[in-house]
Every structure is written in C-alpha cells, then in structure tokens.
C-alpha cells in the first residue's frame, strides 16, 4: 500500500504564499501572547496547589466561601477531571507548608458531611519558581543553539539557521495557540509548566528531525545531480522525502492524539503541545527551513553576478 505515487510538487514557488500564512499565524499568536498572556503552572509561579477529592461532587461556590473565610479569597478553584476532584491554587508565598495545612483544615471544617482526601499537594517556594523558570528558559535556548551548531557542523551553517528559524516558528506558533485556547474550554486549558517545557523540547527535537531528513536528501542529491539547479534539487529532495515525512508525522500525530484524548489530565497539555507541534514542525521543515536555505542561495548568486 502507498499513499503517494512519485510526486513532483514545486514547493519553493509557493513559498511566498506560505510566508504570508506563517506571518499571519505568528502575529495572531504573538498578539494573543502579549495581550492575553499565557498561564504558568504552579511550579513556575510558586505557591501552593492542592488536588482534593470529595466523596460527593462539591459546589465550587461553597469551597470559595470556606476558603474566603480563612483569608484565601484570591485562590483559584476549579474542577480537575472527575467532578469530585477539585484543584485549589494560591500564590501565597510563605515558607513552610502552612498554607496547604490551613486550606485542608478549612475544607474539612466546612465540609463535615463530605469527606475529603488529598490526591496531590504541591508547594513551591518563591525562589524555586523563579529558578525553574530560568532553567526552563535556558533549556529551550541551549537546545536551539545546540541544534544550530550540530546542523551547521554536519551540513552548512545556513542549514542550521534555516532549521533553527523553523524551530522558533514552531515554538511561537504553538505558544500562540495555547494562549488563544486559554479559557475557551476546560479541556484545552493548558499552562506552561515543566511538563510543557519537556513537550517543547521534544517538539524541537522532532521538528528538527524533519528538516534534517530533507537536508540529508539535498546533500545527497547535490552530489548526484551536479548539473541541476539548486531550486530543483531542493524541490526534488522535498518530494523524494515527502512520503516519509507524511507517514512518520502521521504516525506520531495519531500516537499523540490518543495520549491527548485518553492519557489523563497530567499528560494532556504535554500531548497537545506535541500534537500541534508535529503539524507545524512538518510544515516548517518544508516551507521555512528549506525555503530559507533557498533564499540564501538566491542572495549569494545575486552577489556573484
């Protein structure tokens, strides 16, 4: 079975149109990121987060009353998966674990009939939150630099630039989508936490995979078809690898979709970022990474003549 007969699509001629598409998507995302922002997870914010299970589904309003009476009026309260499970989060930055204790005692006092049990409790000190944010930032930046160096070393420097610009594109588009979806439905409410950073780094790895496979073909075709125009070589290489790109990305997409839908609360944000990242990653390796390599070759030729 095969989905693709030998294709011969002229990808590079359509690049201007796709630059335009990317520009629109990125600016929409950026606008949303700037004005709407993006939610941080508890590990980056610092504070206390509790996931409490009640014997019977409680009313959020009542929980709020119980907590307001103890001075936690600003606490974020929401249902977490199962209607009996409630996530409570405060950004009170005290050392020690008093906040969690006070919330727990407030709840067990208020809900005498409805027994509670703690499913998960997390307390992140103010300094740790800042540190984790910083580490995450470095992790993403370092991985981009590492990609630039590695690809530049294995291919040519401009290939590295193309791949890294494509990665920036993927990361910003995915961040933008997460920001846009924020608050629309509880199912798509994602936060930037450590798991999400892991997702972004994996996205970086996978997206660069696609670029590398195409670059590898270009490198090979350059040796074989010495007389061919560079533009045709790039087009041919993308076409040659198109079947692989679609099959691989398609398989990973399905795998991630399943994890996103059935994998539970903890890995959902992670799976979403990757599912979306696979799409933009595949797209960007063709229309951004390869196109940049081509644009650069055009410029070089112009300078020569």
């Amino acid at each position: 079975m095969r989905f693709f007969k030998k294709t011969n699509i002229n990808f590079l001629d359509k690049r201007r149109f796709f630059y335009f598409v990317s520009l629109i998507v990125i600016s929409t995302g950026l606008i949303s990121l700037i004005f709407k922002g993006i939610g941080y997870g508890i590990d980056f914010l610092g504070g206390t987060e509790l996931i409490i299970q009640f014997d019977n589904p409680p009313s959020i309003g009542e929980i709020r009353n119980a907590l307001s009476a103890k001075g936690f009026a600003k606490a974020e309260i929401k249902v977490y998966g199962d209607p009996r499970n409630v996530l409570i989060r405060t950004t009170e930055l005290e050392t020690g674990t008093e906040v969690g204790d006070r919330i727990k005692s407030a709840l067990s006092e208020h809900f005498k009939e409805n027994k509670i049990s703690v499913l998960e409790e997390q307390k992140i000190g103010p300094k740790i939150g800042a540190e984790l944010r910083r580490d995450a930032f470095y992790a993403v930046i370092f991985s981009l630099i590492a990609m630039l160096i590695y690809i530049g070393f294995r291919f040519k420097f401009i290939y590295g630039v193309g791949a890294v610009v494509a990665l920036f594109h993927d990361v910003i588009v995915t961040l933008g989508v997460i920001s846009l979806l924020d608050g629309i439905s509880p199912f798509f409410d994602f936060e930037i936490d450590q798991n999400m950073i892991a997702a972004f780094l994996t996205l970086v790895g996978l997206s660069v995979n696609d670029s590398v496979v195409i670059f590898d073909r270009i490198r090979e075709n350059l040796k074989i078809y010495k007389a061919m125009q560079f533009k045709d070589i790039i087009n041919k290489s993308i076409n040659d690898t198109l079947s692989r790109t679609v099959i691989t990305s398609g398989t990973i997409f399905v795998v991630l979709l399943i994890i996103m839908l059935f994998g539970g609360e903890i890995t959902r944000g992670f799976a979403f970022a990757l599912t979306f990242g696979i799409i933009t990653g595949t797209y960007s390796s063709i229309f951004i990474a390869s196109a940049i390599v081509y644009e650069w070759s055009l410029k070089k030729n112009k300078n020569k003549t």
Partner: protein, 622 residues
Amino acid sequence: MKKERGKIIIIIAVVLISLYLLYPTYQDYNYSKKLESLRGEDSVKFLEENEQAIRDVKFKRIKLGLDLQGGMRVVLEVNTPKLLIDLAKNKDETFNTIMNEVMIDARTSDEPITSILLRKFNDRGIRLSRYYGSIRETNEEIISKLESEATNAVDRAIEVVRNRVDQYGVSEPTIQKQGARRIIVELPGVSKEAEVRQLLQGTALLEFKLLKDPEVVIKVTDAIDKFLAGKPIVDSLSADTSKISDTTKNVASNDTSELTIPEGQKTELEAAKEHPFYYLARPDQRAQGEFFVSEDNREKVNRILRRPEIQKLIPSDMEFLWSAKHAFIAEGKKWYTLYAVKSEAELTGGVIVNARATIDPNYNQPIVTMEMNAEGARDWARITGANINKRIAIVLDNAVFSAPVVRSKIIGGNSQIEGLDNIDEAKLLEIVLKAGALPAPVDIIQQQIVGPSLGQDSISRGINSSLIAFILTVIFMIIYYNKGGFVADFALLFNLLFILAVLAGFHGTLTLPGIAGMILTMAIAVDANVLIFERIREEAVTGKTLRAAIDAGYSKAWTAIFDSNLTTFITGVILYNFGSGPIQGFALTLMIGIVASMFSAIVITHVIFNIMADRNMKISFG
C-alpha cells in the same frame, strides 16, 4: 547467513541480558499479585517465608516514580541566616537589625547569604569579629569560616535526615544533595505528612548512653532465648516465672514456625529451635553483650523485643538500640549491631562545642576530637571517672554511631575517640557529634505529595493510552509496508524490551512523562523504519534486485537516521540536565529509547531481511 553470525550473536546476547534484567520486575509483580490474593495470617506467613527474595527483587525491579506510586517529595534548604544567628556571640540590638535586613534580602536575592552579611556589616563599618571568631581575624577569614560552616550544616542535615529515614523504615528512600544548600528527599509510598515533616525538620537529639554490663545483658538475652524456645527460665531477672510458662508453649510454637530454614539443613534448624533468639541475634564473639542481626531479621527482632511478655524480661533501665550503619556484610546481607544500653542518657549533645575528625600524627590513625563547654566538661569528668573501661554509646536519634571505651577520667572536656576504621568513619562521627551540638535549621521549600489513588489512576490511563497507540502503530505498519512492516513491528517489540531492561539495569525510575517518552521513542523507531523502507522502495523502482535494494536502502537511509536521531538525543541530554524529577524521567527514557530504536531498526531488521533474502523468502514492502 554466515556473514550475519556475529550480528545474530550480539542480538541474542542483548535479548538475553534484557530478559535477565527484567526478571526481577516480573518476579516482583508475581509476589505482589500473590500477596494480594492472600489474607491476614497467610500473607504474613508468605511475606516472612520470602522476605529475602522479595527484598531482592524490589531492589532490582524497575522503580516507579512518585507520580505513579504515590509518596512524598520534599526539597529542604538549610536556613543559612538562622544558622548565622545561632553561630554569633554577644548578640545585641545592632546585630539583630542587621540580621533582619539580611533575611529580607536573602528571600529575593541570589547573592550568597554570607556576602549579603558582609555587605551589611561593611555598610555600617562594623567588623565581623565583633560577633564571630576572634578579634584578630579579618572579615575575609571569618567569612570563609562561616561559609564552610554553612556547607557543613548541609552535610549534617543530610546525615540527620538519612539516619531518621533509615530508622523510620521507608523502603527505597532517595536523599540527595542538590547544589550547595539543598537536600532532596523522596519517600515513595509515604503519605503521613505530619510524621514525615517531624522526621525532616525536628531537632536532632544526640545522647551519650552507657552500655549495660555484658553479664547483665547476657542474663536478659538468655532469658529471652529460653522463653522463645519454650524452656523454663532458671534465672529470671524480673518476671514471674510461673506466669510466663503458661503462655510459653503456644507462643514458642508460633515463633519457631516463623523462622525460615531451608530443608536439609538440619543443624541450622536445630539451632534455630534450640536458641530462637541467638539464631536471629548472633552474639558478638569479641564484645560480649552485643549481637549481630542481618538486615532481613531486624524487623523480626524488633517484633520480638516489643512483645509484652518479652518486655517483662527486660529490666526497666535497659533498652536495645541498633547501630546506625551496618557492621559488616556476610552471606550477601548487611549485619547490624544490636546494643543494650542504659535507658537514661548520661549526657545530651547540647554540651558539645566542637568536634573534628583528624589523623592522629603519632599513630597515623583516624581520630575524632570533641570539645565540651564548662558545664558539660564537669559532668563528663564525673561520668568518665566512674566508668573507666566501660563503653559509652554515641546515640543520635536512637541510633548508635559509635561505642568507644572510656580509657581514663577526662577532665577539661577535651576527649579523643580512637579505633575508627577509616577517615570516612571519623568524618561521619564528627558530623554526628556536631549535629547534636549545632542543629542545622532546614526549611521545606518545595513539597509534593501524591496520593496513592491518583497514582493508580495515572498508571491505568497512561498504560491504556500507550497500549492503544502502540497497537494502532503496529497494525498500520503491517497494512502499509506488508511483510516489511511485520518485521519492523517485531523490532518495535524488542525496542520496548530494551528500554525497560536498561531502565531496570541502571536503576532508572519510570515516571508518567517517562511513559510518554517511551511512546515517543516508539514513534521515532517507526520513523527509522519508514526512512529505510521508503528508500528500499525507491531503490527497487530503479530495477535493483531485492537484496541489492535492501542493502542500498539501509546504507542510504543511515545518515538521515543518524543525524535526525542525534539531534533528538541532544535535546534529551539538555532536558536531563535542566529538568527535575519527572522531566528527567522523560529525558532518560527518550535517550535510552533513541539508542535502542537505532539498534532495533538498523541492526535487527536488517539481519532479519538478509536471512529472509538468503532463504529466498518473499519480502515485500507494500
């Protein structure tokens, strides 16, 4: 075929090693299944019969992260400002004001506390020697001393925490130092928050306790031994003999059945019947009144000693304490020393001013010197004077770290502890002695508690979704690539086996993001096969023979697979270094998975195809 022999041997070896590494995990699963099916008495019996085996497989199985099995993760930080306050002398109003400012700055700044302190002192033009060290020391000297005090405090805190966690009996705890001032403690399966917090934050209690006279100890243990063996006690120390013999029979029969003696070792069986207590707690031949107990029997001995009938045999001023570290390793087990000491402490650690581990220049032996304050020195002189040639145990939070012999009356409070095996032991003792003298104040800066039920839920969801994803991938590969896909699926299974085996072999931890990482590597393994198969299809079109097309496909796909996998591997390395806990689990499985997938996709499938081609089997790539 011959050409492939080397590769086939490697593949078989790798598979065998993987199965060997995974066997404990499988056994562990069997044991817990079996335990679940048993009730009450039976389960206790099963547990005792297989105690050693269960412990062994537990150690070698794949560990589950806290997110999967529930438990507590706590990050402690030594409160350096508080330590600095504790260390200061002649504290006055100015000092308190300065320290308050230091604390406020420390909360938000990354600057080392000591340099904040120095800056505040310099701002005011006050020298540090007003509160620390001696008058002749410069600020720099004092600061470097304070810095080393702060570092030592972390070591002390770790030792105190480790000691307590060991005594508390958490299975597979992890205690690590992170950076300069932090301690990460992971306690799987523990959810009693308040207890654990006490465990981690309470002040350490250091005590000096006299060892009981060996003769007295032996009388007591003889009585316990006889009682357990069901014999009448001739020389009873405290209890009413007639009353005990009533219950003797039935208790004794229970106890001997508890002991596990392999068949065919009659003498040992007899020994166990004859002397049930000494069979568990072997008397030390060199030091009378001390006993060695192997790690698997510790809990058993504790149970015996806690029994009310046994408690009656032990004088009220005597108690049994364990050594903090094992004395030696024999028969593949660690053996701990059981000491009998006077319940009441002679002295507590508060009187110690300083302790230092050094090498005795005269004998070139490691020693620990200990200094006491005036009040302590006075008591110490009296205690040592009255107990020459007796032994005093150094006890931290109820665990004995050392039990040196008193050589002479010590006047002035400067003591020297000799006879330590090596400098590490001396350093540990120094830490222990200081732990009692100068508590290292720690704050909980991060705490995560995962309830066991959330763990259960996460596991089942994670595994189910992974399974669905895996099955779909497998089916797709067969449909799309026909026999080639079938071979690739075969390699995928091996891939899974390798990842799990490496995790077990390196004592890695499986976390939920780790499972996600595993699925992702499955996808990457599929990618490698897709790259190869697409290449083989292309080559076949050019009119090559099947064998030639396969070889060309593999060799041409190689650079693409290598480069793309290496880039993913690099992100894995970066993730592992920056992430914490669960993220590291993800990065670890990702890295293992990439290596495993390259092996399975390139070596294994290639060998299979070559064998199939040699045997003229029909191979198709869809």
